[in-house]
């Protein structure tokens, strides 16, 4: 027993005596790192159960604007993330800063069915009926009335979304009755600054509920819903002037770079980076999610 004890104690002592030999950069501590992170910017906006919730771009931190009404239906954040527009159903659109402090109330905007920020970060584009209006610097468009997009002879016309992109294109989503043989048609139209409009029928009973553009005005995403439970996501490529279905997420929003996109599906908010083919996400509630913007 004694030799075993002796050998074992010696082995134990020796094993604790060897010092680590540095092979790379050596010891490291965050507090000594000269590069320090910028203050986290809350860039991704959601409306969850009537509340505006802001997420850091890596989804690591959240901030709920509890100083705003608890029954918000829609909201949009500008591309510099310092202005937010929101609307309680049936009321005028309200502009606040990123802390929720009031900036302005958009007059006569209670009937607005869609609104989003232009790439200039100062102009809010609002759609009421088939007319576009602006809060902030007005945008030069050939026409702010989009009624001409509906096919001649169609009826039961509703326009759900319209936005103006950074390059002056207008993208609109609308639905109409095209007669007995075709029935209802749901369409997205890209109206470039010059040239012929590009139409794409996205379904028959589908209703496009949202459109979002990136800050460069190169990419627009749109989302349609069929029968309340089936969703389709559409990519409107302004350069190629194409409109294609890309996914089935209920909500999506283009990120600050062409490779980044935020998605919401099945109670999970996630960010996808196409260049790295990386996903990361956080859980939200399964229900009560009504808006996503980045």
């Amino acid at each position: 027993m004694k030799p075993i004890l002796f050998i074992a104690i010696l082995a134990g002592l020796l094993s604790g005596c060897s010092q680590y030999e540095v092979q790379y950069e050596g010891p490291y501590e965050d507090r000594l790192n000269p590069v320090q992170p910028a203050i986290p910017a809350f860039e991704i906006l959601t409306v969850e159960n009537g509340k505006i919730v802001l997420y850091h771009r890596n989804l690591s931190q959240t901030k709920t604007l509890n100083n705003l009404p608890a029954n918000i239906a829609k909201a949009a954040v500008n591309h510099s993330h310092d202005r937010i527009a929101y609307q309680v159903a049936g009321q005028n659109v309200v502009i606040v800063d990123s802390t929720g402090a009031p900036v302005d109330i958009v007059p006569n905007s209670a009937a607005a069915v869609w609104f989003d920020w232009h790439a200039n970060n100062q102009t809010l584009c609002l759609l009421s009926g088939t007319s576009l209006s602006f809060w902030g610097p007005a945008l030069a468009l050939p026409s702010t009335n989009l009624a001409s997009l509906f096919p001649a002879g169609s009826s039961d016309r509703t326009m759900s979304c319209a936005i103006v992109t950074g390059n002056g294109s207008v993208v609109a989503a609308y639905r109409y009755y095209a007669g007995f043989s075709q029935g209802y048609q749901s369409r997205i139209t890209l109206l470039p600054p010059s040239g012929a409009p590009v139409h794409r029928v996205v379904g028959s009973f589908d209703e496009t509920r949202w459109l979002r553009t990136d800050r460069d005005g190169q990419r627009v995403l749109g989302g349609a819903v069929v029968s309340g439970s089936i969703f389709s996501t559409w990519n409107i490529d302004l350069s190629a002037q194409t409109i294609t279905q890309t996914g089935d997420q209920p909500f999506a929003a283009p990120g600050p770079s062409p490779e980044q996109t935020a998605f919401w599906k099945n109670g999970s908010l996630s960010v996808y980076h196409s260049g790295l083919d990386q996903w990361f996400g956080v859980q939200t509630g399964q229900t009560g999610f009504t808006t996503l913007d980045w």
């Binding site: 094993s15 540095v22 010891p27």
Partner: protein, 246 residues
Amino acid sequence: MFGLNICLSAQAPGYLGKRIFIKPDIAYAPALAHPTAGNRGGNTYGEQGTRLGLNTKYGLQAGYAFSRRGVLAAEANYMATGMSLTTYTPAVRYEGRMDEHYLFYNLRGPELGLALQTYNPLRGSLAPMGFFTAWRVRMAFLEGAVLDKRTTYFADDAVAGHLPLGIRPHYKHLTLGVEFGQHIILADRIVLSLSAEINASPLQLNLTPSYDDSEKDNQTIFKEAAAARMRFHSLIMFKMGAGYLF
């Protein structure tokens, strides 16, 4: 007369009436190819590695024989081991891109534990002497320190540096264990011990989900790596000590 003698022969707890012992001890665990406090083990890059390292732990144990069969023991230890992990931070000058950091951590700190040692008088043991089985709960309060780092910068942009890792290197590890060993008494006062422990961590069993590391935040990566390292580190330990009987 005879019958009376038989009735009074039951032995009192303790060795010759001495019930208390204090015993410094040393424990070591085979690390195999895993890291130790001073060696990264068989690691990703493999420039230096060991195939049979030992993790060492130093401790002090105090026990009281409350019956012929049982000893209640309290212990305090200091442990150290190594841990390798890979974390990521956003590249400073390339939006959406990541720098990768291979880190070698020292994971060290105190441990506190309570143990119930049981002895079987029918097999010649008498607390605190002879063969025993101990049941133990132990908590380790660990802190990590980066001893070595290897950063792979996106686009080789080392000039820009990298963002802080954002790791708070604190980790608590709870284990339940069973120990089999023997106490030998020398010169009426000296107690020598040799034992083997098996430890498991019941609260960490479901800690590691099957995500890619690049999808996790660095704090989660650190905690999961520490949990995994400690699970293996304390799984089997061999222990020896020499103490004093009171």
